[in-house]
Symmetry: C2
Subunit: 417 residues, 2 copies
């Protein structure tokens, strides 16, 4: 059988597709009877099928030509599957322990076959809502970010390879445009898609739309996002794009990948951890006041950044001859090496804080909210959590250049508390 | 006849080529007898033929697969002709009064046919050495820069068109790499290509190679050059890329064009004017002390920037709905518009000063020098001029963020004096 043009698959046609596709059927050792197929996509953009046979399993992800949660009214190129597959393979090569293996890609069908992250893997965001500690999370995520971001930047690339890769990922412009709209634009203007916990946050949302100082900073971040090809970033690295067990941390869903600012990825991850922190008061009950868990989240934030910093610099030190950014014949003494690395990391912290804050704001007054808050059923309580998160994000966005290290950021979180 | 593969033309084969090419022969009204063909390329990279017939004329520029002045030992893709033709057409569309019209482009032959800028057009650099004032220079160059840079930035582009154009010009990476090497690398390390007025400037060149603070700033500029796709820049906008008469200003040779930082173009132009300023003492004689001319150059620097600023902002104000950078629904009050424009221009001034200074330094201690200094035969006198220019450039590169406007820059030039 042939799928010579795109068609959305269902439980049934998927089995036919697998039978016709050796790279998939071989993963099941060609035992294709009694397959269980389950559609589990809870995201906004795609079908996700879990396929389990007697001798193997995988996940099939198929991109649809529109944003699923809104319906066919918001078209979105299914070519994003191509960029997702490219990014999974490139990031998987660089950080194989934390990216699921790609078994198969079909551009016509916008379809990726990849490793099934079997139970007890769950979405990190759900674990954070449940109050579960993941002892290796900071170590794993810092490892993933340091490896993928360092090796796709000019600290490792020569400019020939870099510009070639940049040009390729320019093709993922529609997904970039979605980010531009929902992160950098809609929250700062009246938009039909915006929502917030009303009426509690009505004046807070209005204040965001009328804050000149905030909009001035957002413009700078948007310009970085649109113009600065610093590394191959995941592009949507929130806590819903990470699957975890106590031993395993796997980063999925890089369909927004492109060459952009490194701080956008780190900021997305840390910003969503901070959202999880501010949501905890809404999940506290008589059995568990969540105080210890809040302290754990703050430690994860601190450790993720500090471990990232350490690992990123270690990769830099170990690959001084590799990239075109800092030629060893020029950056040829230890004082200067220290100066350039300190400057790089300081600017990266400020970018991270800026992007992280922007990602927080959009989750409170923009189109797509996070389950961390949405699962707090008492709207009054929820709005209180959201307001504190929003106040922190606004502060950080405007004042980010004053922060010297992550400890000062964690202190600021505690003070808003 | 057919030129199915690349071959370097000479006076003779060029005539055959013209006869076989209607878009060229028609420019001569098909009067192809008694053509005069003169090869005039004084640049480093190409053949340039002036073709004059009884009923018309044009220039033929052919890119060679190496850097001409160094010989075949330094290979350089002839595909740069493709990007030069693209940029000539795009910039010509945006600023037709200041870019020569393209009549013909042949990618196989790396050959561009374009308007012949007939006498009295001369290279601006030669006019500056001769001490000639061009009353319309600042007006014309500010016009060219404002129009070309504004309309190819996200102030005018949407991000779809922008990323598509960025991807296309990523192909011009070899020319970018040449800039990376000669502007941002070689002057700051020992390189076989570097030269300077020796022995006078031996310790000055060494001081550049050992200046940690300078190298730290150069790294930031190189990163902007390699990563920031702000607008379609000319990429080599020195005073040798401009042809002038008292009435006409024409920008040529955009073979280094790509999507890069706007300040790189403005800095190249202003930096080369500052080099011309510091060279004047070497051209002074009993008839002409060049004092008035030096004052004129400073006025041109000041007027070019201030007129650019005014015209760029006027284009911005007139096209508020056009680009994706500052959506009018967000940047929706005059105070905020003023804030974002002031911030944009301030950062652009600092970029301009940084790149301008880097372009000055490389012309004094790097591979390719400028005739402004080279034509000063007395090496002692020449080195004095060069040293003052170098001191100014180092100061500006390190302290550029302290300058609020162009008047402060002009004052700093006068103080080094």
């Amino acid at each position: 059988m042939a799928f010579s043009e795109f068609q959305p698959l269902n439980d049934k046609s998927l089995v036919d597709y697998i039978k016709a596709t050796p790279s998939l059927s071989s993963k099941l050792k060609d035992h294709l009877d009694n397959l269980t197929v389950k559609e589990v996509g809870d995201g906004n953009l795609n079908f996700v099928f879990i396929v389990v046979g007697s001798h193997g399993s995988f996940v099939i992800k198929q991109a649809l030509p529109y944003i699923r949660c809104i319906g066919e009214s918001w078209p979105m190129t299914k070519e994003r599957a191509y960029f997702e597959a490219l990014a999974l393979r490139e990031h998987g090569r660089l950080s194989p322990d934390h990216v699921p293996e790609v078994y198969h890609f079909d551009r016509t069908m916008s379809l990726i076959g990849m490793r099934y992250l079997e139970p007890p893997h769950i979405i990190l965001r759900k674990g954070l809502i449940a109050g579960i500690e993941y002892p290796l999370l900071a170590d794993h995520m810092s490892d993933y970010m340091a490896r993928t971001l360092f090796h796709t930047s000019l600290l490792y690339h020569n400019t020939t390879d870099h510009r070639k890769a940049v040009a390729e990922f320019c093709g993922n412009v529609e997904l970039c445009r979605l980010t531009e709209q929902v992160v950098f634009s809609d929250p700062y203007k009246v938009s039909e898609y915006n929502r917030w916990t009303s009426p509690y946050l009505d004046s807070d949302a209005e204040a965001v739309r009328e804050d000149n100082a905030l909009k001035l900073e957002v413009a700078e971040l948007k310009s970085l996002f649109c113009e600065r090809a610093q590394a191959l970033i995941h592009g949507d690295l929130h806590t819903g794009s990470v699957m975890v067990t106590p031993d395993s941390t796997q980063v999925i869903d890089p369909e927004f990948a492109f060459y952009g600012p490194i701080g956008f990825d780190i900021g997305a991850f840390l910003g969503n951890l901070i959202l999880a922190f501010f949501a905890q008061d809404g999940h506290a009950d008589e059995q568990n006041d969540r105080k210890a868990y809040k302290a754990w989240i703050l430690r994860i934030i601190q450790n993720t950044w500090n471990l990232f910093h350490k690992k990123f610099i270690a990769l830099w030190d170990a690959n001084k001859d590799a990239g075109d950014a800092y030629l060893p014949a020029i950056y040829n003494n230890s004082e200067l090496q220290q100066l350039v690395q300190d400057k790089y990391i300081k600017e990266l912290l400020h970018d991270t804080l800026g992007f992280g804050a922007a990602k927080m704001i959009r989750r409170i007054v923009g189109v797509a909210h996070v389950e961390d808050f949405e699962s707090i059923t008492d709207a009054s309580k929820r709005s209180g959590c959201e307001r504190r998160a929003l106040e922190f994000a606004k502060l950080i966005l405007k004042e980010r250049r004053k922060f010297q290290n992550i400890e000062e950021v964690v202190s600021a979180v505690q003070q808003i508390q």
